[in-house]
Symmetry: D2
Subunit: 404 residues, 4 copies
Amino acid sequence: MARRKIGIWLIGAKGGVATTVTVGLVALKKGMCGPVGLVTHLPLFEGLDLPEYGDMVIGGHDIRTTTLYAEAQQLASNNHALDGSLVDRIKGELDKIDKNHRSGTLVNVGSTIEKFASDDLKKKGETPRAAIERIQADLKGFASDHKLDQVIVVNVASTEPPIEDDGLPTKWKDLEKLLDKPKKCPLAASSIYAIAALDLGYPYINFTPSLGSAPAAIQELAIERGTCHIGHDGKTGETLLKSALAPMFAARNLQVMSWVGHNIFGNMDGKVLDDPSNKKTKVRSKDRLLHQILGYSPQTLVSIEYIESLGDWKTAWDHIHFKGFLGTPMVMQFTWQGCDSLLAAPLVIDLVRLTDLASRLGEKGLLTFLASFFKSPLGTTEHDFVRQFQMLEDWVETQKAKAS
Amino acid sequence: MARRKIGIWLIGAKGGVATTVTVGLVALKKGMCGPVGLVTHLPLFEGLDLPEYGDMVIGGHDIRTTTLYAEAQQLASNNHALDGSLVDRIKGELDKIDKNHRSGTLVNVGSTIEKFASDDLKKKGETPRAAIERIQADLKGFASDHKLDQVIVVNVASTEPPIEDDGLPTKWKDLEKLLDKPKKCPLAASSIYAIAALDLGYPYINFTPSLGSAPAAIQELAIERGTCHIGHDGKTGETLLKSALAPMFAARNLQVMSWVGHNIFGNMDGKVLDDPSNKKTKVRSKDRLLHQILGYSPQTLVSIEYIESLGDWKTAWDHIHFKGFLGTPMVMQFTWQGCDSLLAAPLVIDLVRLTDLASRLGEKGLLTFLASFFKSPLGTTEHDFVRQFQMLEDWVETQKAKAS
Amino acid sequence: MARRKIGIWLIGAKGGVATTVTVGLVALKKGMCGPVGLVTHLPLFEGLDLPEYGDMVIGGHDIRTTTLYAEAQQLASNNHALDGSLVDRIKGELDKIDKNHRSGTLVNVGSTIEKFASDDLKKKGETPRAAIERIQADLKGFASDHKLDQVIVVNVASTEPPIEDDGLPTKWKDLEKLLDKPKKCPLAASSIYAIAALDLGYPYINFTPSLGSAPAAIQELAIERGTCHIGHDGKTGETLLKSALAPMFAARNLQVMSWVGHNIFGNMDGKVLDDPSNKKTKVRSKDRLLHQILGYSPQTLVSIEYIESLGDWKTAWDHIHFKGFLGTPMVMQFTWQGCDSLLAAPLVIDLVRLTDLASRLGEKGLLTFLASFFKSPLGTTEHDFVRQFQMLEDWVETQKAKAS
Amino acid sequence: MARRKIGIWLIGAKGGVATTVTVGLVALKKGMCGPVGLVTHLPLFEGLDLPEYGDMVIGGHDIRTTTLYAEAQQLASNNHALDGSLVDRIKGELDKIDKNHRSGTLVNVGSTIEKFASDDLKKKGETPRAAIERIQADLKGFASDHKLDQVIVVNVASTEPPIEDDGLPTKWKDLEKLLDKPKKCPLAASSIYAIAALDLGYPYINFTPSLGSAPAAIQELAIERGTCHIGHDGKTGETLLKSALAPMFAARNLQVMSWVGHNIFGNMDGKVLDDPSNKKTKVRSKDRLLHQILGYSPQTLVSIEYIESLGDWKTAWDHIHFKGFLGTPMVMQFTWQGCDSLLAAPLVIDLVRLTDLASRLGEKGLLTFLASFFKSPLGTTEHDFVRQFQMLEDWVETQKAKAS
């Protein structure tokens, strides 16, 4: 019997996370790296029918014109995020994957992101409708060129400025009408890609804090087309730690008075977040969980600053000021020195594998059991990391039970 | 109807933790402090019939001759662990409680602890059997003097040198025979107190890493007498953090290569732990959980050093070196500046309240649902803090369901 | 022979630093504290004829109406910056000193500082000239009431918004003409006080980053009146560390790529610095020295954020990313947990003692040998802390040599 | 005129520091790296007649049989201490330098170091006298083979167990007599090499904490032979920071109550220091300076622990607990993440360049002006880093003045 083939379509296909996903997937296929960092290689997942790396094909959209090899070499020379000699050994594969990349859309991405786009792209003004049609043609071409059984679209592009979705129509039929009226349609690229994918029945994963598939109308579209989606904002560093530590303060009834988090890093994501408007989207996403875990709102401060020399190495300092018995103030501090792309990439691969399985098993709409992967998981208010992970465990055990 | 009266009998009654428990309980009775740090004041516990502070009476054993007021003032002047003016305002109550204290036993406590004992006590050589009888007389006197419905014995004394329980008889009837033969009986004070309490049907809680009620024969005694017990080693600081953080590394499949923890502090507990033999017991207790949570054994190092100027402020630095995707090493570090007595004391009060309730509800043997309070919980291998806390939640919900 | 009497006139007399100076001076007079933190008690200064604490009298200006006792108790209860029982024991002295306080001026202090002023003061619009005359009357009254031989004015008020002194006349006679023209005179209160003091021949010390006596025209006034002054911005914490550490990186030819410093604290100074305009003055002062010590400009980031729970405890995290041999990036990080008022107050006392001596020895104009006390020392570009301290040592040795 | 040729003879020629010196020197010769980390490239040294990299030849002794290329590749793969592709490009040069290496001596190096030696070497029992003669033959062969004008011997071997030099004869003629009596001669290899070098008139630099040329009798030998030497223990990390920070605490009269330093790392040096006897030598060297800078002795704790995963990345956490004005305790903490070999290697190169110049300028005996390079500089009690560096500045300026 022929093996199923899975397409991974990355939005922001030349960016740090996508490049690392691509390099990592090639390395996994060739046995050049082990499974460290991949959640789906934990014993829990043994026995599940997850797709294998050899059956995956990568493509994607980007607004920049560069090559995967050039981007990967930059990640290698820039603070050792990747191993340069590994990148050299897989140059051939990377060059081939470049051919699967298509031009992205700039709809409402904001001026900071636009600056990275090619001139051609900037000139091309397109309505949301036209962008969707172009994207869908790209996706269908990818599927037919590679004889794919499934295409999973993952947004790993730079963070867009915040869009208030309060004013958005909550019904798909109403939202759809706005797609021809650029001035009335506040949706930005992340949602345009979501619509394009879901409308074709392809799952969509939003790994960024951008709006993506969050609006109710787009959620309705997913259900209507019988497909699934999830997001948003991959939980890779400081927020992951918050979601592991805050439950401890809560369960011990230690009163958090203030929680300050300073993040510094120097990759392209950092440059985009240096625009206060884009940063706002991110900070909001990082700051939400404390209230929900603690049940009250301590003073919080989250900063994200671009420090060029750090490259992809996200460094965070958190200062937690809490009150103990008899009112005595105490302090916990932590620093985190993690390579952002290397923390994000395996989660993208995990999400693709789990989403493919869920899709085959008939899951529709939000895949809330994937909450542990996200800073602001859609469809749940659970932010305690262990309890989120138990949602995943429960789902896995249920599937195993059904299968046996 | 007359209110039930609960006695709390503290082993190490003049020590830092016991003094803070005593000060705290007086402050709670008088409404001089709030419930911060007390787990049993979380919303989860609302509706449970937990004993009230006004119904609790404190007594205890100690080997030192000092006063609670003197000890409390030292904690106040020594790095602000307690508020000196609060201590002044409750001097009368503390002086009264001093009268409920009796002389402890030195059976096998080791030379470092012995040094703190009064000369009278040092001279008194007693067999384990004699010590148990003396302790039981003290407990019965306490109960009758104060018309108590229950006495709960809590060990908060200094850590004893390690005792290998491999050679111990596993049956109570065999162990009991050794009590008259001091040279053949390796049990130390913590177990002597446990036997004395359990034999009278009183619950026993071991908040220290000493052996206490852990031996199988003593567990059998508890069942036989129809009472309950739990331990050991209160989880208040660095280990608490490990049990909150390690599950995150495990669930993300990030490979911990080494986990180094350096602890410095300057209270009496620190002086005792400066003896390498006593320290061994403690380090062993702190170091156990990583293997159980991670499923493998990274290189670990745990040090505890006595730095006089820090007083009761336990300061810990942990350095976690882990491998991410594609084998790249990353680092998390944290520092913890917590006041040890203030972190421990509310947990002791919580344990007493929950143990009293469990006892009334007929629980016998190990109260494993209290695992989240301990570094080395008896009766379970679960070390993930959130999952341990869920054991408590489950028990509470079950009792609520039964009651309604 | 009658002892000389020295007046210390504090601008911001009810603020955290001034209150701590006042409490500290009373405690020193009464032998209630030792000399820890006082530079002038180092062996170096033995044999110098420095004024004694018993000969000092405190007065000052403030725009707030509160009492020293109330402020001191707040510093005591607010995170243990002062010892409450010490404050209680000297309440009588503090109440007396309150009577030496006069209303300050609001000239150009900016809206954030104005908010703290009494309504009466806000209504009183006065020209710079009128303010100077009023201040001078206060100073002369203080001197005659207490039969003082010297009055030393020290600015410890909140930081004003930055004033560009580029457009200021550089000659005193030209600047003086502007004092009657409020709209043309950009000088703010810190400079108004400086003019008032220096014009009377009284020394002026600017412990804040505000402009103070820095303008060339005011420096000329000091020379003309035969008196001395110095500033600005007391070096108490993070910048002190920078000035001790940066020379090490420079001398080892380790290339600092970026130096990030995040400061959090919650005292009134913090509230004022939460106004971005006032903060700008401070950040500028903190950020200057790296270029001067290193000889090049790494990327720097300095943030100061108001976190209420921290009170007077300034907590700083600095992340220094540097390149070593063969281009390898390395990292140093530090955290600093210091009580701002307690770090500043002894330096104010030291500066008063040294300035009094310098004045008696005939020093005129800038006292550059005091550079080690300041973040942005006037009259020198030396920022290496040890070399700055050697300037003080050299001056002291010279005076000793002259005297013998 | 023919250029002078300088030989650098490294004791421990295959170790981490020596390998990095060798790789670095080749890279400098070929213009493959810049001068970052090299002190002698600071503007201060412009105009001095320092030897150029093209005129230097490397040789050395080691007790292990491996190749420079293998060691360098291990440093490259082991946590990115070196760049693997750089190492590949200079393999030819490294292989040539291997031929300049000779077998070292095991005289009194202790069992932990002996374990690394080849079996042949272990069998060879030689008297100190015989070892010296063999070493001198090697040095003379090196000089004649390469037509060298100077040979400078640098000890970068592993730390030996401590040797008390109290009982050593203080006269060279008396010490010399012991060289034939192995049982009476407590000198270890580091001193044997020092004698061999100095006796031939070659300068000797001790970059390790081992005894080396410190004994008075060996110092006398250096003077007699008209040559120079210096040591000991290169100051590269935590101690460097102490010598930059402690003067700040001293000059501010902030009372250091305790200074705790925990060092973790995983290179071969670390394995040797895991032997408590060898560690003792190191800790003693690291702990000395605080008393000398502060003028009193705070409680100190210095630990060095072997954590394999860290490789050459020395990570240190220092906790400084100090008392400020009015007795309030405050805290500074720092962490240092530096690559030990890369911090040490450029200093070795600097020391060779400066020692060659000093030797040509006629300096004899201890080169105390090089104190800033050492944890325990011979011939001076100055430990303040900036003041030590000024000793170097003064010497340089004096030489410049003489030359002009």
